[in-house]
């Protein structure tokens, strides 16, 4: 669930949001000629893979679909251990996962025919949704045509918590004098937060939080949810496709300002399973492929995951707060 800072209502931007929303639909629906039609270019929902897509009167059952999607990944839960009369709630608060694969450099090659620099990558993510925060630790080794023999692995730790973003030389750097360095990276905050909200759990949380702004369509027989993010990402529209199991299989984001290419992403999720050493019945994708700004960004196989709301904290170093204040 987005924290208050990210839940800010943007009613004064409603017109803008609607306009961009329509733009997104035009892109995703193949630029059909009349965007004012119901569904903005896509067929309105009449049936979904789960059978839960149609509500009373035949209207699209967005709430029912979101519940099905939440249950499909083990996010909506209740327990009979004294909780039989409590409602189902979103139990995903913190999570940690480890993967390996390929990430790509963001620098454009000097010749258009050259491939993007690619790195073999050990990928470790710790995340939380209350408050929204994420720590991405990568150890990257050059590979492919651009590899330089003998180059030392590049180790990076990128962190975001709400409006604060920083880089760490070691996990928790900058919190105790003399133990590592934290460097403010405020310009990266929105990009890093976006990575959190486009994970399957973030998509469901944000779609629920968007309330009536979340719309449901069908495209090529699949259920598609569209909604705006909120807070500092209120300018970003999300389009999420559900697979036959109601699990999020594809997420596309579009900023209202095309110049913000880092916020234009496309992510594919597949191979859902309970990947935890300790079983939780929380399903996570085993394979993540992402493009950012139209270019490959990462291709990661998830090795293991801890979804048991592990102890993950993201205190903001004092120097990062100072940097944000100036």
């Amino acid at each position: 669930m987005p924290a208050k800072a990210n839940m800010t209502t943007v009613s004064n931007n409603k017109v803008l949001v609607l306009a961009v929303f329509a733009g997104l639909a035009l892109q995703t629906a193949g630029a059909q000629s009349n965007a004012s039609k119901a569904g903005m270019g896509a067929k309105s929902m009449d049936a979904g893979p789960s059978g839960a897509a149609v509500g009373p009167g035949g209207a699209p059952d967005v709430a029912g679909t979101l519940k099905s999607a939440a249950e499909a990944v083990g996010l909506a839960r209740w327990s009979g251990v004294g909780g039989e009369r409590l409602p189902e709630v979103d139990v995903v608060s913190t999570m940690e996962f480890w993967g390996t694969g390929t990430t790509y450099g963001s620098e454009r090659p000097s010749k258009s025919s050259e491939a993007l620099p690619a790195f073999k990558t050990e990928y470790h993510v710790a995340l939380g949704y209350n408050p929204p925060a994420m720590r991405v630790e990568m150890t990257r080794t050059s590979s492919g045509p651009s590899a330089q023999g003998g180059a030392a692995p590049l180790h990076t730790i990128q962190v975001v918590r709400e409006k604060y973003a920083w880089d760490e030389t070691e996990i928790g750097a900058g919190l105790i004098p003399g133990k590592g360095t934290a460097t403010a990276a405020m310009a990266a905050a929105n990009n890093r937060l976006l990575q959190l909200w486009i994970l399957p759990y973030g998509v469901i949380k944000a779609a629920v939080a968007a309330g009536d702004k979340t719309k449901m369509l069908t495209e090529n027989g699949s259920t598609v949810l569209t909604f705006p993010l909120s807070g500092s990402l209120a300018n970003v529209l999300v389009k999420a496709t559900l697979d036959a199991n109601n699990q999020v299989s594809k997420v596309e984001t579009r900023p209202d300002n095309p110049a913000l290419t880092d916020l234009a992403t496309e992510t594919l999720y597949s191979d859902y399973a309970d990947h935890g050493e300790i079983a939780t019945d929380v399903k996570s994708p085993g394979h993540i492929i992402r493009k950012q700004g139209g270019r490959p960004a990462l291709d990661i196989q998830v090795k293991t995951l801890d979804a048991n709301n592990p102890y993950l904290v993201f205190p903001v170093p004092a120097n990062v707060k100072d940097a944000a204040a100036h």
Binding site: R77, G80, V81, L86, P87, V89, G172, A279, Y311
Partner: protein, 316 residues
């Protein structure tokens, strides 16, 4: 994948049975029920009685949504997750949490119930902030709590993990706190604390042998009873879950405030050896047992029999 062998249903059933003694005790005394419809604290009613010296009288048998760990609703209350009929809120961060109102739903087996309970108990955002060099240790202790949690070996829960006392006897120069062994998450033996309120000072820390409950001294700050404790061992954990270890330099300040028929308890943990900053529990609100004939029943002895049969890391 490092998947371990699936948790046996027999173990899950044993876990549920652990809850029974406390449940029977509480319901027989007009106390709390396990089937809460929400996790909201009780609303205070009635006057707050006072002793002849003018202080609020904390004497009574206290239970309800507090540390009578009767299942998920209590544990969610204890970590600050307020579940209503169709809304859920984290009282510490203010975050609204997606909620799907109760309706007919599929039955779950014990495995599913226990796994969900483990997640629900850990939803809260109010976590102590350890120094970074201890973050992994906390995670490891929690993940391996079947073996690492001292309560799972029938060790005392200690202060402040015991939480709010179930029985308070208030005298002019001391208060007596009684904590019945409850089964469930802190399946420990009955414990008591005799806490002086006569104005004495703490013994020097270096002269104290560390214990589970430490040396406690009580004093009134206005209408709030403040219990200050030092002199702990480093074996106990300081909250019901999470691998929250501490050093022998832990300092605990408990606050108990009576409002009518409710008692609100909090504890602040200071431990500069391992914590970056002091940490305060979620306020836990207990309800006065209105039955004048209610008594504390004898607790069943804690006898660890399950650990040898556990084949996974799944845990409370």
């Amino acid at each position: 994948m490092l998947r371990y062998v699936r948790f046996s249903r027999a173990i899950a059933t044993l876990g549920l049975l652990c809850l029974l003694p406390a449940t029977v005790f509480a319901q027989a005394n007009g106390g709390p029920r396990m089937d809460h419809e929400n996790t909201l604290p009780p609303t205070p009613t009635g006057p707050t009685p006072r002793t002849p010296d003018g202080h609020p009288d904390l004497t009574g048998l206290w239970n309800g949504l507090a540390d009578n760990l009767l299942g998920v609703p209590n544990q969610m209350h204890n970590v600050g997750i307020e579940v209503g009929t169709d809304t859920t809120r984290d009282i510490h961060s203010g975050a609204q949490i997606a909620t799907w109102p109760l309706q007919k739903r599929k039955r779950q087996n014990n495995e599913q119930n226990e796994r969900a309970a483990t997640l629900l108990r850990r939803m809260g955002s109010n976590r102590p902030i350890y120094k970074p060099e201890y973050w992994q240790r906390v995670r490891d202790l929690d993940a391996n709590s079947n073996e690492e949690d001292p309560s799972n070996s029938c060790m005392p829960a200690g202060v402040p993990r015991m939480g709010s006392p179930s029985l308070i006897v208030q005298q002019p120069t001391y208060v007596l706190f009684v904590y019945p062994g409850q089964g469930g998450l802190i399946a420990t033996a009955t414990s008591y604390r005799m806490i002086p309120t006569d104005g004495r000072k703490h013994t020097n820390l270096e002269d104290l042998d560390g214990t589970w409950n430490g040396e406690s001294i009580g004093a009134w700050e206005g209408d709030t009873m403040v219990v200050d404790s030092i002199g702990f061992n480093s074996t106990s954990w300081f909250d019901q879950l999470g691998g929250y270890f501490h050093s022998e330099n832990m300092h605990v300040i408990e606050r108990l405030h009576r409002d009518g028929n409710t008692l609100t308890w909090t504890a602040t943990v200071e431990d500069p050896d391992v914590l970056l900053e002091p940490w305060t529990t979620t306020p836990r609100v207990a309800l006065l047992n209105p039955d004048p004939k209610a008594v504390l029943m004898e607790s069943l002895p804690c006898s660890e029999r399950d650990l040898a049969h556990v084949v996974t890391k799944e845990h409370h």
